[in-house]
Symmetry: C2
């Protein structure tokens, strides 16, 4: 499942990472994650004879949904039904579960509207308006040194967001596109009363588990349904998608509308080497380690297994995606291709603008230098991250105390006014927190610090005091009051001094770590990120000069449009892989593995084997340009009708963060017909089927 | 299962690691891995009123068996039946399996002698004679600088071994004890015609898998039986152990005879910090990574799962053991205790021998300096290790060509004359080699090199050429002729020039890596190991001076005697853990986990649930001092009768490589009564039961 953002990406981190977004130039085949206010009309007309009307685009835009937990979705009924993947619903199902009611494992269906379950801490956003604010943001930074220019841009963006929110009441975010090429103000309708309607068993959504993840042929019903409520009643949306009962066929053109998270397609070659030699190996090291820790924790009891499952899925998923990205970069041809493209660009740019050559060369050198700085703090910055809800709540409370007294534009970016509601929603959400699990996560993180930096590192010693990592973690967890949402609410109302008087054990731990976390973040922001923003600004301008305006920006977890045809492919060993699998295929694959985990049949599938039409197409592959964040994106035909639900990519496509991979690289979707067939004949969810199919 | 040596330990590595073996001073409780020619008589008499006779000790010594794959065992019948753990038999079962006959998973029983299966590449050693050669080895090194002294010692040891082997026909090894305190020549009767008689399903031997590994209460029938043949007939041993039908009870004194692999009990405090901050974190990083890689490989098909199972077990097992060791060292009290002991020793020694104080301080400083050197090459040396049978065969062939022309004493230690038969037995053993698996292991190792050193490291580039790690590995594996044992035999007959003419793709890969591997090894041997040998020699003498002769050497994978009482313990949370589990307990634990992996019942146990006496004791805990290598050791009573079979330690004991852990630390054994009950009523192995019980 590459389409949910890795769980490591907090909104704050996203903002940081997304900021390095740059234009991509050579458009190939069905390449492109296009802005909806800048659609690839020429390509669509030339290649497919299809010219999307403004109405069609607006309809798609306003039917598309952004999930605050890192995925995409779409409104699919007149009563506010929202479709996304099962794996996007997974953390919701997890948070709604108890030892006695395991919704993640068993699935859920609300037979009547009254049975729909309110979801804590989930925000669904509909992109309502886009405004170009490039001039204003750039003007604020005019003539300043990198670090100060960056601060000025941030302050201006915060001001724009606040003004917009005040004027329109819409949730407002300034998005950095083409880095420095453009700043767009995105205004969203935000909904927080969201209820769970349907989810299959995890075993149906994620059949084959980690084994089959990122593989094809594939047999997953990776779907779930929510409903947006407004003023206590189902939303009557202005736009929603119609359902295609006949589905699509091999060779058909499809469109995908979703929120791809991050790509690095215009990274310089040095920057790609950094990904290859520093970033990805370190991220993988983290994932291998945490996976082993979580598996050990899970092995202690069935209840532990339930508690760790959602995070374990996220880590395994990220691990497999990063492995593919690293394999792609380890292939010297990847660097060679990017190197040639970079050489071509600089050569052409020098001919167009001989005077600008030196600036571009300097920009490349600045990136290189910034990465040298980054390399020095990278490991240290990584190991000062601690996972776990309790620690995150503690850090949020501590930082609210530190940040709120400052003007919005000078705060850590995630604490700016426009984001405070979101921060508080998460902080106050009454989702379960499990002491043993929190202790495990904190102990693991503290031990990692000592493993990597040495137990005698001065900060490690001050954090651990005279305790082992496990003892220190146990102490911080067991004595903390932050398990209780009411206490968190009370603490959030205090100022810094009032908060610290309570000496909450977990806040004390956060306090021991925060100075070093902030110091490293400041080095990153001032000496790495801001330098890169300025340098990529110059490089982006050169790309524009050479390749013109027919480019799309790197992904930023904002709404994009992709397109592509449904098509099978040929494996390197010559095997033909057909474009579609069927429901019957899941039964056969389960039998091949003797129904052993993770190939055991989902309970309802085992019970209704004779009721279901096994010839129904289940999953299909198509060659649109997608990446993590696109999970849950609707796949539609020329009429805008739903023919599928995007949920994954195959292994061949995993390197597409760096370049669009045409050969064998495929996105994977659940077929719309399987969704109807399963809802009707496996889950008996007739109420929902009628709703989806009504005009 | 901490008692099999981690799979990373080749015999060569063992020789190196075991070399740093030093005396341990403060004897506590049932502490000690005692030499059989230096038994702890005083302690046994004082604490247990038991004085082992010379006959009793000789009988135990000559009944004990050393398994060449890293475990222990014992002769248990007049017809050469040898008992060890299932997990010590695991690699044998793995090598005897095919896609159609999975002995590791399904188990095996030979109903008649003719059905017993010959095992390739397994050597069983009985320790027959011990001779003190300390004076001779020390004399050879007299007055030389560390690196040269070390070379002289090695040459002398090789000469002693060759002479002994020639004179007695017994396999001869000089063992470095108390490092520099003593060198003993061990002569073994070595048997290579070994046949498989019985093994239960893996699920019985390793019930609960990684989840229950190193835990108690425990429910494993971790036993297997082999038979030694001589001249084509079952061996009639001079000594073998009698079976106790009544078993042992809580509070009983027991003895364990086996081959503990390595301990680090007299490491200096700096050396322990090195374990904590460098060695263990790096080994764990390796284990987490390889475990993830192997699980991904296994997930691709049931056959892949079978192929990777043995190695995956080894890696998971090592991971869990190292995790426990690291947790123990991360606890500041561990270092504090060792630090106090070291301070006490130097203080007392200074009083005894004021003139010697400076030498001891210098020795501590030398260790510290050697570790600084080691730290610099540690990571690099680790990543130049490549796993996989094919690569190991290639490296052996290449090095045979390089080493054989040199005098025995000047070769890499594992290629000295006394070890050549063993090297060739492994090289020529016709055990299955799976191309996909080999490619996976080599690709993983090559990728690791690039991840850790950077893809642009000069040697990484020369090894990978212009290929990705996977491509390079595929090329080396697919074109190699070394899959075929006959070809390996042919190649082994060639000299270096003749060998290289064939340009075998895997030998070429080994050739690309070997210069750096040798360079790093030379740095290690000349600047780390030899310095440490000399320094520990001085430190050991100081310990002797302070604590007298009543000490045992650190473990060296040679025969030792341990002892202890059978005793339950109290968990930190107050729960009482009884000393014994029962056969019925396995059925109950399986039910608790809904028979889900790894808690599904073994096939025969499911079929014979009504035939077996569920009250039979299955496993028990006792507080003898054991460690990896002790797997398969017989546990006997005062009369020397078998009451159990050692197979594991509990989590609390995992830090006992560094110090004996009294509180809650326990060794775990299979109860002798469960072995009989299961053989008789679950596996119908009556022939073997009669043999075990006959006087």
């Amino acid at each position: 499942m590459n389409h949910r953002l890795p769980p490591v990406i907090t909104l704050a981190a996203l903002a940081i990472l997304a900021a390095v977004s740059v234009p991509v130039r050579t458009v190939d085949a069905d390449e492109g994650m296009w802005l909806l206010n800048h659609p690839p009309r020429e390509i669509l007309i030339e290649k497919y004879g299809f010219d999307p009307s403004d109405e069609w685009l607006e309809h798609m835009q306003k039917s598309a949904v952004r999930f605050s937990n890192g995925g995409s979705g779409s409104i699919v009924s007149a009563a506010g039904l929202v479709m996304t993947n099962h794996h996007i619903a997974a953390d919701v199902l997890y948070n709604l579960s108890t030892p006695d009611r395991d919704l993640l494992k068993e699935g859920f269906y609300a037979p009547t509207p009254a049975d729909e379950i309110p979801v804590p801490d989930l925000k669904l956003d509909l992109l309502w308006q886009i405004e170009d604010v490039t001039q204003r943001v750039k003007a604020a930074a005019q003539g300043k040194e990198p670090a100060r220019a960056e601060a000025a841009r941030r302050a201006e963006m915060a001001a724009i967001e606040s003004e917009s929110q005040e004027q329109t009441g819409l949730h407002s975010e300034v998005v950095t596109l083409y880095h420095g090429g453009a700043y767009h103000l995105y205004r969203y309708k935000r909904y927080t009363d969201v209820r769970l309607v349907f989810a299959p068993e995890e075993q149906a959504g994620f059949f084959g588990g980690d084994n089959d993840n990122f593989e094809f042929p594939r047999y997953c019903l990776d779907v779930s349904l929510f409903r947006i409520y407004k003023d206590g009643k189902p939303l009557k949306p202005e736009h929603y998608l119609q359902w295609s009962t006949e589905g699509a066929s091999e060779g058909d053109l499809t469109f995908v509308f979703g929120h791809p998270g991050r790509t690095q397609r215009l990274y310089t070659v040095d920057h790609l080497r950094f990904l290859r030699d520093v970033h990805l190996p370190q991220r993988l090291r983290w994932a291998w380690r945490l996976q082993a820790k979580l598996e050990a924790f899970s092995g202690r009891s069935p209840e532990n297994e339930r508690i760790a499952r959602d995070l374990l899925f996220g880590v395994s998923n990220a691990r497999k995606a990063w492995t593919g990205q690293l394999e792609s970069l380890m292939n010297p041809r990847t660097i060679a291709i990017k190197s040639r493209a970079q050489g071509r660009m600089t050569g052409q740019y020098t001919r167009i603008n001989p005077a600008g050559w030196a600036d571009v060369e300097n920009a490349f050198a600045d990136i290189r230098d910034s990465l040298e700085t980054y390399r020095k703090i990278y490991t240290r910055q990584q190991v000062f991250k601690v996972r776990g809800k309790l620690f995150e709540h503690a850090l949020t409370l501590l930082r609210l105390g530190d940040e709120l007294p400052k003007p919005s534009g000078e705060r850590l970016r995630e604490y700016r006014d426009s984001n405070l509601d979101a921060v508080r929603q998460t902080l106050f959400a009454d989702t379960p927190i499990y002491p043993d699990f929190e202790a495990e996560l904190v102990a693991s993180a503290l031990s990692r610090m000592a493993e990597v930096l040495g137990r005698d590192d001065i900060i490690v010693r001050s954090v651990l005091r005279n305790q082992s990592p496990r003892e220190r973690a146990e102490e911080a967890v067991r004595a903390s009051a932050l398990f209780d949402a009411k206490m968190r609410r009370r603490y959030a109302a205090l100022d810094r001094e009032g908060l610290l008087e309570h000496r909450d054990s977990m806040i004390e731990l956060a306090r021991a770590l925060d100075p070093e976390m902030r110091r490293l973040r400041a080095v990153y922001e001032d000496e790495v990120e801001s330098v890169q923003h300025d340098a990529y600004n110059t490089i982006a301008a050169a790309w524009f000069a050479v390749d013109g305006e027919n480019v799309y920006p790197d992904a930023t977890f904002t709404l994009r449009m992709g397109f592509g045809t449904i098509a099978g492919y040929t494996e390197p060993n010559g095997n033909e892989v057909p474009a579609f699998t069927t429901i019957g295929g899941m039964y056969r694959r389960s039998a091949l593995w003797n129904s052993e985990k993770p190939f055991d049949l989902p309970r309802h599938w085992a019970e209704h084997e004779n009721d279901v039409d096994k010839d129904t197409p289940l999953d299909f592959v198509y060659n649109a340009d997608t990446i993590g964040g696109n999970s849950g994106s609707p796949v539609v035909d020329r009429e805008g009708k739903v023919v599928g639900l995007n949920f994954d990519s195959n292994l061949y496509k995993l390197g597409n963060n760096v370049r669009y991979i045409k050969n064998r690289g495929r996105a994977i979707a659940v077929d719309a017909r399987a969704i109807i067939e399963a809802l009707r004949n496996i889950y008996g969810a007739d109420r929902v089927v009628s709703e989806l199919l009504s005009e």
